[in-house]
Protein backbone atom coordinates (compact mmCIF):
# COMPACT_ATOMS: atom_id res chain seq x y z
CA UNK A 1 0.00 0.00 0.00
CA UNK A 2 0.99 3.62 -0.36
CA UNK A 3 1.23 6.48 2.05
CA UNK A 4 -1.10 9.34 1.44
CA UNK A 5 1.44 12.13 1.39
CA UNK A 6 4.31 10.73 -0.68
CA UNK A 7 4.64 12.43 -4.05
CA UNK A 8 3.40 10.04 -6.75
CA UNK A 9 1.82 7.47 -4.45
CA UNK A 10 -0.35 5.80 -7.02
CA UNK A 11 2.66 4.42 -8.88
CA UNK A 12 3.33 2.01 -6.06
CA UNK A 13 -0.15 0.56 -5.56
CA UNK A 14 0.06 -3.23 -5.13
CA UNK A 15 3.58 -3.01 -6.44
CA UNK A 16 2.38 -2.66 -10.02
CA UNK A 17 4.18 -0.05 -12.07
CA UNK A 18 2.41 2.59 -14.14
CA UNK A 19 -0.42 3.41 -11.76
CA UNK A 20 -0.19 7.00 -12.77
CA UNK A 21 -2.80 9.64 -13.44
CA UNK A 22 -3.83 8.17 -16.79
CA UNK A 23 -4.22 4.70 -15.27
CA UNK A 24 -6.49 6.04 -12.54
CA UNK A 25 -8.61 7.76 -15.16
CA UNK A 26 -8.84 4.57 -17.21
CA UNK A 27 -9.88 2.57 -14.15
CA UNK A 28 -12.48 5.22 -13.26
CA UNK A 29 -14.02 5.07 -16.75
CA UNK A 30 -14.16 1.27 -16.59
CA UNK A 31 -15.90 1.38 -13.20
CA UNK A 32 -18.31 4.15 -14.28
CA UNK A 33 -19.27 2.08 -17.32
CA UNK A 34 -19.63 -1.14 -15.33
CA UNK A 35 -21.58 0.13 -12.31
CA UNK A 36 -22.83 3.52 -13.39
CA UNK A 37 -21.34 6.87 -12.41
CA UNK A 38 -23.73 7.43 -9.50
CA UNK A 39 -23.05 4.01 -8.00
CA UNK A 40 -19.26 4.38 -8.09
CA UNK A 41 -17.40 6.11 -5.25
CA UNK A 42 -13.78 7.23 -4.97
CA UNK A 43 -13.54 4.51 -2.32
CA UNK A 44 -14.59 1.87 -4.88
CA UNK A 45 -12.00 3.20 -7.30
CA UNK A 46 -9.26 3.16 -4.64
CA UNK A 47 -10.18 -0.43 -3.77
CA UNK A 48 -10.09 -1.46 -7.43
CA UNK A 49 -6.62 0.05 -7.84
CA UNK A 50 -5.34 -1.13 -4.48
CA UNK A 51 -4.44 2.40 -3.38
CA UNK A 52 -5.70 4.81 -0.74
CA UNK A 53 -8.38 7.39 -1.45
CA UNK A 54 -5.81 10.10 -0.71
CA UNK A 55 -3.64 8.71 -3.47
CA UNK A 56 -6.48 9.40 -5.91
CA UNK A 57 -7.24 12.83 -4.47
CA UNK A 58 -3.57 13.63 -4.99
CA UNK A 59 -4.28 13.66 -8.74
CA UNK A 60 -7.99 14.46 -9.01
CA UNK A 61 -10.06 16.98 -7.08
CA UNK A 62 -13.26 14.92 -7.09
CA UNK A 63 -15.24 12.15 -8.74
CA UNK A 64 -16.80 14.75 -11.02
CA UNK A 65 -13.29 15.87 -12.03
CA UNK A 66 -12.59 12.31 -13.21
CA UNK A 67 -15.86 12.31 -15.15
CA UNK A 68 -15.05 15.68 -16.73
CA UNK A 69 -11.62 14.53 -17.92
CA UNK A 70 -12.97 11.23 -19.25
CA UNK A 71 -15.76 12.94 -21.19
CA UNK A 72 -13.35 15.58 -22.52
CA UNK A 73 -11.20 12.77 -23.90
CA UNK A 74 -14.10 11.61 -26.08
CA UNK A 75 -15.64 15.02 -26.79
CA UNK A 76 -12.43 16.76 -27.84
CA UNK A 77 -11.63 14.07 -30.39
CA UNK A 78 -15.15 13.94 -31.81
CA UNK A 79 -15.37 17.73 -31.94
CA UNK A 80 -12.15 17.86 -33.93
CA UNK A 81 -13.44 15.27 -36.42
CA UNK A 82 -16.80 16.98 -36.85
CA UNK A 83 -15.38 20.51 -37.02
CA UNK A 84 -12.92 19.49 -39.75
CA UNK A 85 -15.71 18.00 -41.88
CA UNK A 86 -18.79 20.03 -41.14
CA UNK A 87 -17.63 23.65 -41.26
CA UNK A 88 -18.76 25.84 -44.12
CA UNK A 89 -15.15 26.32 -45.20
CA UNK A 90 -14.36 22.59 -45.29
CA UNK A 91 -13.21 21.49 -48.74
CA UNK A 92 -14.93 18.83 -50.85
CA UNK A 93 -18.54 17.82 -51.44
CA UNK A 94 -20.83 17.34 -48.45
CA UNK A 95 -21.04 13.65 -49.35
CA UNK A 96 -17.24 13.23 -49.34
CA UNK A 97 -17.05 15.05 -46.02
CA UNK A 98 -19.83 12.89 -44.58
CA UNK A 99 -18.03 9.70 -45.60
CA UNK A 100 -14.85 11.10 -44.05
CA UNK A 101 -16.57 12.00 -40.79
CA UNK A 102 -18.07 8.50 -40.61
CA UNK A 103 -14.65 6.95 -41.20
CA UNK A 104 -12.90 9.13 -38.63
CA UNK A 105 -15.71 8.75 -36.07
CA UNK A 106 -15.29 4.98 -36.24
CA UNK A 107 -11.56 5.45 -35.61
CA UNK A 108 -12.25 7.66 -32.57
CA UNK A 109 -14.82 5.21 -31.18
CA UNK A 110 -12.41 2.31 -31.54
CA UNK A 111 -9.46 4.24 -30.06
CA UNK A 112 -11.49 5.77 -27.21
CA UNK A 113 -14.19 3.13 -26.75
CA UNK A 114 -14.55 3.33 -22.93
CA UNK A 115 -14.68 7.15 -22.87
CA UNK A 116 -17.20 7.28 -25.74
CA UNK A 117 -19.31 4.61 -24.03
CA UNK A 118 -19.42 6.81 -20.95
CA UNK A 119 -20.26 9.85 -23.07
CA UNK A 120 -23.16 8.10 -24.80
CA UNK A 121 -24.66 7.08 -21.44
CA UNK A 122 -24.43 10.47 -19.77
CA UNK A 123 -27.86 11.46 -18.47
CA UNK A 124 -27.38 13.19 -15.16
CA UNK A 125 -27.85 16.64 -13.78
CA UNK A 126 -24.37 17.57 -12.57
CA UNK A 127 -22.80 20.56 -14.36
CA UNK A 128 -20.24 18.27 -16.00
CA UNK A 129 -22.99 16.03 -17.40
CA UNK A 130 -25.15 18.95 -18.53
CA UNK A 131 -22.17 20.43 -20.35
CA UNK A 132 -21.33 17.09 -22.01
CA UNK A 133 -24.93 16.67 -23.19
CA UNK A 134 -24.78 20.20 -24.65
CA UNK A 135 -21.57 19.41 -26.53
CA UNK A 136 -23.05 16.11 -27.80
CA UNK A 137 -26.09 17.99 -29.07
CA UNK A 138 -23.83 20.41 -30.95
CA UNK A 139 -22.12 17.45 -32.63
CA UNK A 140 -25.48 15.88 -33.52
CA UNK A 141 -26.67 19.17 -35.02
CA UNK A 142 -23.53 19.55 -37.13
CA UNK A 143 -23.87 15.99 -38.42
CA UNK A 144 -27.54 16.45 -39.26
CA UNK A 145 -26.63 19.64 -41.15
CA UNK A 146 -23.96 17.77 -43.12
CA UNK A 147 -26.48 15.05 -44.06
CA UNK A 148 -28.93 17.74 -45.19
CA UNK A 149 -26.19 19.27 -47.37
CA UNK A 150 -25.39 15.87 -48.91
CA UNK A 151 -29.07 15.40 -49.74
CA UNK A 152 -29.35 18.96 -51.09
CA UNK A 153 -26.36 18.53 -53.42
CA UNK A 154 -28.04 15.43 -54.87
CA UNK A 155 -25.65 12.75 -53.60
CA UNK A 156 -28.01 11.12 -51.10
CA UNK A 157 -31.59 9.94 -51.59
CA UNK A 158 -34.21 12.47 -50.59
CA UNK A 159 -37.10 10.12 -49.73
CA UNK A 160 -35.96 9.68 -46.11
CA UNK A 161 -36.01 12.78 -43.87
CA UNK A 162 -32.39 13.93 -43.41
CA UNK A 163 -32.71 14.11 -39.62
CA UNK A 164 -33.79 10.45 -39.61
CA UNK A 165 -30.89 9.55 -41.93
CA UNK A 166 -28.52 11.27 -39.54
CA UNK A 167 -29.92 9.41 -36.51
CA UNK A 168 -29.75 6.04 -38.28
CA UNK A 169 -26.28 6.58 -39.74
CA UNK A 170 -24.67 7.79 -36.52
CA UNK A 171 -26.77 5.35 -34.50
CA UNK A 172 -24.99 2.63 -36.46
CA UNK A 173 -21.63 4.32 -35.81
CA UNK A 174 -22.33 4.76 -32.09
CA UNK A 175 -23.50 1.15 -31.75
CA UNK A 176 -19.83 0.17 -32.03
CA UNK A 177 -19.30 0.99 -28.37
CA UNK A 178 -21.69 -1.84 -27.53
CA UNK A 179 -20.35 -4.62 -29.72
CA UNK A 180 -16.86 -3.79 -30.98
CA UNK A 181 -14.11 -5.97 -29.46
CA UNK A 182 -10.55 -4.57 -29.80
CA UNK A 183 -9.19 -8.13 -29.70
CA UNK A 184 -11.65 -9.34 -32.35
CA UNK A 185 -11.23 -10.03 -36.05
CA UNK A 186 -11.78 -6.49 -37.36
CA UNK A 187 -9.68 -3.35 -36.98
CA UNK A 188 -11.06 0.18 -37.15
CA UNK A 189 -10.35 0.45 -40.87
CA UNK A 190 -12.26 -2.75 -41.68
CA UNK A 191 -15.24 -1.67 -39.58
CA UNK A 192 -15.27 1.82 -41.09
CA UNK A 193 -15.22 0.39 -44.63
CA UNK A 194 -17.99 -2.13 -43.88
CA UNK A 195 -20.10 0.52 -42.19
CA UNK A 196 -19.77 3.02 -45.05
CA UNK A 197 -20.51 0.30 -47.62
CA UNK A 198 -23.61 -0.78 -45.68
CA UNK A 199 -24.98 2.71 -45.12
CA UNK A 200 -24.20 4.33 -48.47
CA UNK A 201 -24.30 1.43 -50.95
CA UNK A 202 -26.68 -0.86 -49.05
CA UNK A 203 -26.53 -4.56 -48.25
CA UNK A 204 -28.34 -5.85 -51.32
CA UNK A 205 -26.23 -7.67 -53.90
CA UNK A 206 -26.17 -5.76 -57.20
Amino acid sequence: MTTADSAPPIRRGRGRPGHDQAAVLRAAVTLFNRRGYDATSIGDLAKELGVTKSAIYHHFASKEDLLRLALADALDELTEVVSAAAGDSAPGSAYDRLREVVRRSVEVLVAHQPAVTLLLRVRGNTPVEVDAVKRRRWLDDQLAELVRAAVAEGALRDDIPPDLVSRLLFGMVNSLVEWYRPDGAYDAQAVAAALAATAFDGLLRR
Copy 2:
Protein backbone atom coordinates in the same frame (compact mmCIF):
# COMPACT_ATOMS: atom_id res chain seq x y z
CA MET B 1 -49.40 8.08 1.98
CA THR B 2 -50.32 4.45 2.35
CA THR B 3 -50.25 2.09 5.26
CA ALA B 4 -47.90 -0.82 4.91
CA ASP B 5 -50.33 -3.60 5.62
CA SER B 6 -53.46 -2.62 3.71
CA ALA B 7 -54.12 -4.88 0.76
CA PRO B 8 -53.34 -2.96 -2.46
CA PRO B 9 -51.52 -0.04 -0.86
CA ILE B 10 -49.71 1.20 -3.94
CA ARG B 11 -52.95 2.24 -5.61
CA ARG B 12 -53.32 5.00 -3.12
CA GLY B 13 -49.85 6.53 -3.26
CA ARG B 14 -50.10 10.34 -3.38
CA GLY B 15 -53.75 9.91 -4.14
CA ARG B 16 -53.01 9.10 -7.76
CA PRO B 17 -54.96 6.23 -9.25
CA GLY B 18 -53.31 3.35 -11.09
CA HIS B 19 -50.22 2.95 -8.95
CA ASP B 20 -50.51 -0.75 -9.41
CA GLN B 21 -47.95 -3.44 -10.03
CA ALA B 22 -47.32 -2.41 -13.64
CA ALA B 23 -46.80 1.21 -12.63
CA VAL B 24 -44.23 0.22 -10.00
CA LEU B 25 -42.41 -1.84 -12.62
CA ARG B 26 -42.44 1.08 -15.08
CA ALA B 27 -41.08 3.45 -12.44
CA ALA B 28 -38.37 0.93 -11.52
CA VAL B 29 -37.23 0.61 -15.14
CA THR B 30 -37.11 4.40 -15.49
CA LEU B 31 -34.99 4.71 -12.34
CA PHE B 32 -32.70 1.82 -13.30
CA ASN B 33 -32.09 3.48 -16.67
CA ARG B 34 -31.53 6.92 -15.17
CA ARG B 35 -29.26 6.01 -12.25
CA GLY B 36 -28.10 2.52 -13.03
CA TYR B 37 -29.46 -0.68 -11.47
CA ASP B 38 -26.74 -0.89 -8.80
CA ALA B 39 -27.28 2.71 -7.67
CA THR B 40 -31.05 2.35 -7.29
CA SER B 41 -32.57 1.02 -4.07
CA ILE B 42 -36.11 -0.04 -3.24
CA GLY B 43 -36.08 3.00 -0.95
CA ASP B 44 -35.36 5.28 -3.93
CA LEU B 45 -38.20 3.68 -5.84
CA ALA B 46 -40.61 4.06 -2.91
CA LYS B 47 -39.64 7.74 -2.62
CA GLU B 48 -40.14 8.28 -6.36
CA LEU B 49 -43.63 6.76 -6.18
CA GLY B 50 -44.53 8.37 -2.87
CA VAL B 51 -45.28 5.03 -1.22
CA THR B 52 -43.68 2.96 1.52
CA LYS B 53 -41.08 0.28 0.85
CA SER B 54 -43.54 -2.29 2.24
CA ALA B 55 -46.01 -1.24 -0.42
CA ILE B 56 -43.47 -2.25 -3.04
CA TYR B 57 -42.52 -5.49 -1.28
CA HIS B 58 -46.23 -6.30 -1.27
CA HIS B 59 -45.94 -6.80 -5.05
CA PHE B 60 -42.28 -7.68 -5.64
CA ALA B 61 -39.98 -9.95 -3.64
CA SER B 62 -36.82 -7.94 -4.29
CA LYS B 63 -35.06 -5.39 -6.50
CA GLU B 64 -33.74 -8.28 -8.58
CA ASP B 65 -37.32 -9.49 -9.02
CA LEU B 66 -38.19 -6.11 -10.58
CA LEU B 67 -35.16 -6.37 -12.88
CA ARG B 68 -36.10 -9.92 -13.89
CA LEU B 69 -39.64 -8.91 -14.83
CA ALA B 70 -38.49 -5.82 -16.71
CA LEU B 71 -35.93 -7.77 -18.72
CA ALA B 72 -38.44 -10.55 -19.42
CA ASP B 73 -40.76 -7.91 -20.90
CA ALA B 74 -38.12 -7.06 -23.53
CA LEU B 75 -36.65 -10.54 -23.97
CA ASP B 76 -39.93 -12.39 -24.41
CA GLU B 77 -41.05 -10.03 -27.17
CA LEU B 78 -37.71 -10.11 -28.99
CA THR B 79 -37.47 -13.89 -28.66
CA GLU B 80 -40.90 -14.25 -30.23
CA VAL B 81 -39.91 -12.02 -33.17
CA VAL B 82 -36.61 -13.79 -33.76
CA SER B 83 -38.02 -17.30 -33.32
CA ALA B 84 -40.75 -16.62 -35.85
CA ALA B 85 -38.24 -15.43 -38.46
CA ALA B 86 -35.07 -17.37 -37.82
CA GLY B 87 -36.20 -20.96 -37.35
CA ASP B 88 -35.40 -23.51 -40.05
CA SER B 89 -39.08 -24.11 -40.64
CA ALA B 90 -39.92 -20.40 -41.08
CA PRO B 91 -41.46 -19.75 -44.50
CA GLY B 92 -40.02 -17.38 -47.12
CA SER B 93 -36.51 -16.48 -48.23
CA ALA B 94 -33.88 -15.64 -45.60
CA TYR B 95 -33.82 -12.10 -46.98
CA ASP B 96 -37.58 -11.65 -46.59
CA ARG B 97 -37.41 -13.03 -43.06
CA LEU B 98 -34.48 -10.73 -42.23
CA ARG B 99 -36.44 -7.68 -43.44
CA GLU B 100 -39.39 -8.84 -41.38
CA VAL B 101 -37.31 -9.34 -38.25
CA VAL B 102 -35.85 -5.84 -38.69
CA ARG B 103 -39.32 -4.37 -39.07
CA ARG B 104 -40.75 -6.20 -36.07
CA SER B 105 -37.67 -5.50 -33.92
CA VAL B 106 -38.14 -1.78 -34.52
CA GLU B 107 -41.77 -2.15 -33.41
CA VAL B 108 -40.73 -3.95 -30.22
CA LEU B 109 -38.04 -1.36 -29.46
CA VAL B 110 -40.49 1.49 -29.90
CA ALA B 111 -43.24 -0.21 -27.87
CA HIS B 112 -40.91 -1.38 -25.07
CA GLN B 113 -38.19 1.26 -25.27
CA PRO B 114 -37.40 1.55 -21.52
CA ALA B 115 -37.24 -2.23 -20.99
CA VAL B 116 -35.06 -2.74 -24.09
CA THR B 117 -32.80 0.11 -22.98
CA LEU B 118 -32.32 -1.69 -19.68
CA LEU B 119 -31.70 -4.98 -21.47
CA LEU B 120 -29.03 -3.48 -23.73
CA ARG B 121 -27.15 -2.06 -20.72
CA VAL B 122 -27.18 -5.21 -18.61
CA ARG B 123 -23.62 -6.05 -17.59
CA GLY B 124 -23.70 -7.34 -14.04
CA ASN B 125 -23.04 -10.60 -12.32
CA THR B 126 -26.35 -11.32 -10.61
CA PRO B 127 -28.08 -14.52 -11.81
CA VAL B 128 -30.82 -12.42 -13.43
CA GLU B 129 -28.29 -10.41 -15.41
CA VAL B 130 -26.23 -13.45 -16.41
CA ASP B 131 -29.39 -15.14 -17.65
CA ALA B 132 -30.44 -12.04 -19.63
CA VAL B 133 -27.01 -11.80 -21.25
CA LYS B 134 -27.28 -15.47 -22.23
CA ARG B 135 -30.70 -14.91 -23.82
CA ARG B 136 -29.40 -11.81 -25.64
CA ARG B 137 -26.50 -13.86 -27.01
CA TRP B 138 -28.93 -16.48 -28.30
CA LEU B 139 -30.85 -13.75 -30.13
CA ASP B 140 -27.62 -12.33 -31.60
CA ASP B 141 -26.57 -15.79 -32.79
CA GLN B 142 -29.94 -16.40 -34.46
CA LEU B 143 -29.76 -13.03 -36.23
CA ALA B 144 -26.19 -13.64 -37.41
CA GLU B 145 -27.31 -17.03 -38.76
CA LEU B 146 -30.19 -15.40 -40.64
CA VAL B 147 -27.82 -12.84 -42.19
CA ARG B 148 -25.48 -15.68 -43.24
CA ALA B 149 -28.42 -17.45 -44.89
CA ALA B 150 -29.43 -14.27 -46.75
CA VAL B 151 -25.87 -13.92 -48.05
CA ALA B 152 -25.70 -17.63 -48.95
CA GLU B 153 -28.94 -17.48 -50.96
CA GLY B 154 -27.46 -14.60 -52.98
CA ALA B 155 -29.71 -11.78 -51.80
CA LEU B 156 -27.10 -9.85 -49.80
CA ARG B 157 -23.60 -8.77 -50.83
CA ASP B 158 -20.86 -11.18 -49.82
CA ASP B 159 -17.93 -8.76 -49.59
CA ILE B 160 -18.67 -7.83 -45.96
CA PRO B 161 -18.34 -10.63 -43.37
CA PRO B 162 -21.89 -11.70 -42.35
CA ASP B 163 -21.13 -11.38 -38.63
CA LEU B 164 -20.10 -7.77 -39.20
CA VAL B 165 -23.25 -7.15 -41.28
CA SER B 166 -25.33 -8.52 -38.44
CA ARG B 167 -23.61 -6.30 -35.85
CA LEU B 168 -24.00 -3.17 -38.00
CA LEU B 169 -27.61 -3.88 -38.98
CA PHE B 170 -28.84 -4.65 -35.48
CA GLY B 171 -26.53 -2.00 -34.05
CA MET B 172 -28.55 0.47 -36.12
CA VAL B 173 -31.80 -1.10 -34.89
CA ASN B 174 -30.69 -1.07 -31.24
CA SER B 175 -29.52 2.55 -31.49
CA LEU B 176 -33.21 3.49 -31.48
CA VAL B 177 -33.31 3.15 -27.72
CA GLU B 178 -30.87 6.07 -27.51
CA TRP B 179 -32.47 8.55 -29.88
CA TYR B 180 -36.08 7.58 -30.61
CA ARG B 181 -38.66 9.94 -29.10
CA PRO B 182 -42.20 8.54 -28.84
CA ASP B 183 -43.56 12.10 -29.06
CA GLY B 184 -41.45 12.94 -32.11
CA ALA B 185 -42.27 13.14 -35.80
CA TYR B 186 -41.85 9.46 -36.70
CA ASP B 187 -43.86 6.44 -35.70
CA ALA B 188 -42.48 2.90 -35.55
CA GLN B 189 -43.61 2.16 -39.11
CA ALA B 190 -41.81 5.22 -40.53
CA VAL B 191 -38.61 4.41 -38.66
CA ALA B 192 -38.74 0.74 -39.71
CA ALA B 193 -39.18 1.71 -43.37
CA ALA B 194 -36.36 4.29 -43.26
CA LEU B 195 -34.06 1.86 -41.50
CA ALA B 196 -34.69 -0.98 -43.96
CA ALA B 197 -34.25 1.39 -46.92
CA THR B 198 -30.96 2.68 -45.49
CA ALA B 199 -29.52 -0.72 -44.63
CA PHE B 200 -30.65 -2.74 -47.64
CA ASP B 201 -30.83 -0.20 -50.47
CA GLY B 202 -28.27 2.33 -49.16
CA LEU B 203 -28.37 6.08 -48.82
CA LEU B 204 -26.92 6.95 -52.24
CA ARG B 205 -29.31 8.42 -54.75
CA ARG B 206 -29.70 6.08 -57.72
